[in-house]
């Protein structure tokens, strides 16, 4: 494994090894109310699931997967972490692994948008001059 996949795996594991799964990140997260089951779950279990995912372990609770899927990069987790970990980066890498980025079976389906490039170019044709399109894109 090289490149970005290696970085996600190695850096994610390094951060996870320092994580105590105290759950402070879950408590501080403003998206918790929007993640099914997380409000009612024990924060330690949810945080532990995120840690387990980054360590490539099994036993990732459904609530943990839901919490990771609901991350909108609010970054309140970083301020709350008593270990001063980059929890936002952990969540980013956990999300990518959960989607199958490093080759594992995805834990939840992604919604691919195969038209995004064509859509961007279409809006560009409408909003930019031909010279701007030729020079900027």
């Amino acid at each position: 494994m090289t490149g970005l996949a290696a970085r996600i795996t190695a850096e994610g594991a390094r951060l996870a090894a320092a994580c105590t799964a105290c759950g402070a990140c879950v408590t501080a997260c403003p998206m918790t109310p929007f993640a099914p089951g997380v409000d009612a779950a024990e924060p330690r279990v949810v945080a532990g699931g995120m840690r387990a995912l980054l360590l490539g372990e099994g036993g990732v609770a459904a609530e943990a997967a839901a919490w990771i899927a609901a991350c909108t990069r609010s970054a309140q987790c970083n301020a709350a972490c008593p270990e001063a970990l980059d929890v936002a980066l952990m969540m980013r890498f956990a999300g990518m692994r959960a989607r199958g980025a490093t080759g594992e079976a995805p834990r939840y389906a992604t919604r691919p948008d195969p038209g995004w490039s064509s859509r961007v170019k279409a809006f560009a044709r409408v909003t930019l001059t031909e010279e701007e399109q030729a020079t900027w894109l």
Binding site: G3, L4, T72, A101, A122, V126, T127
Partner: protein
């Protein structure tokens, strides 16, 4: 919060990302503002300069797209003493720092346009001569602020505009920008309701968006609310500078008939099939609140 002040670049690229193409006038005005503060930057964006944010289900594809973009910037900035890539989009900025630069070596610094303009705000003062008498609620998000203090930086820049009042309301909604909220059921609606409540409580008549996806999602708040204007911070700076900027996306998005609003020329440019399949669903999407 400490603001990182980067050295003045001898060469720079203004990297506007992909989705800001919906707002061509913002790209132009941003480039013009950079020039006004003494930063002559090449302008680059679109799918050929993508950060890979849309492909995160595959590290291989994300890495490939990121490498292509970094290699392109390295080539543009080769030989520069203080080469800079000046970002607009917080997703692009975070991608550069978290997944692109750690994997593909860069010969440039990454900075955000708010940092560049804020560090050189003295050059903006003389430019921002026209009063813009509005009462503004700044649309803040929690997420990008710890990395680049955009909420504080944009607030300071807006205070340079004569006649503009920035209301003192602490609201900052979750996420790094509205596109992240839109993928979580209920989250964007909750944020927009909180925003409307804050505007009512503070007497604000203008919602100033910072990022493009926030602008895209917020413009529909004007529907049925004639007292409310949604403008991007760049729109407000341009207005004070006396530069003509028309919010074309808002006009189409809030039109009864986006096709008619786009007009013959716009439809011809977009292409009928592409408009129908890729643009019209977005332009006809119902308001969230």
């Amino acid at each position: 919060m400490a603001v990182t002040v980067h050295p003045v670049p001898d060469r720079a690229v203004f990297w506007f990302g992909c989705n800001l193409v919906r707002h061509g006038e913002v790209i132009r005005a941003s480039a013009r503002l950079l020039e006004a503060v003494g930063v002559a930057a090449e302008t680059a964006g679109g799918p050929a300069n993508c950060c890979g944010a849309t492909q995160e289900a595959s590290a291989r594809i994300t890495e490939g797209m990121g490498r292509r973009t970094v290699d392109g910037f390295n080539a543009r900035l080769a030989g520069a003493e203080h080469g800079q890539v000046i970002t607009w989009c917080p997703s692009c900025h975070m991608n550069m720092q978290d997944v692109m630069a750690p994997v593909t070596p860069t010969n440039f610094e990454t900075t955000h346009i708010t940092e560049v303009l804020h560090a050189r705000q003295d050059r903006l003062r003389a430019l921002l001569a026209r009063p813009v008498p509005v009462r503004v609620l700044l649309h803040r998000h929690l997420g990008f602020q710890p990395r680049v203090p955009v909420n504080s930086l944009v607030a300071d820049l807006l205070r340079l505009i004569p006649g503009l009042t920035l209301v003192d309301d602490p609201l900052a909604v979750p996420g790094h920008m509205c596109s992240s909220l839109s993928s979580v059921p209920g989250a964007l609606a909750a944020a927009q309701r909180a925003t409307l409540d804050a505007m009512a409580a503070s007497g604000a008549d203008t919602l100033a968006t910072i990022f493009h996806s926030c602008h895209r999602e917020s413009v529909m708040l004007e529907r049925g609310r004639p007292w409310l204007r949604v403008a991007n911070w760049i729109h407000l700076l341009a207005e004070s500078a006396g530069w003509p900027v028309e919010d074309g996306y808002k006009a189409i998005r809030n039109a009864e008939d986006p096709r008619a609003a786009l007009g013959e020329a716009g439809m011809a440019a977009a292409g009928e099939a592409v408009f129908e399949r890729l643009m019209e669903p977005e332009l006809r999407k119902a308001p969230v609140v």
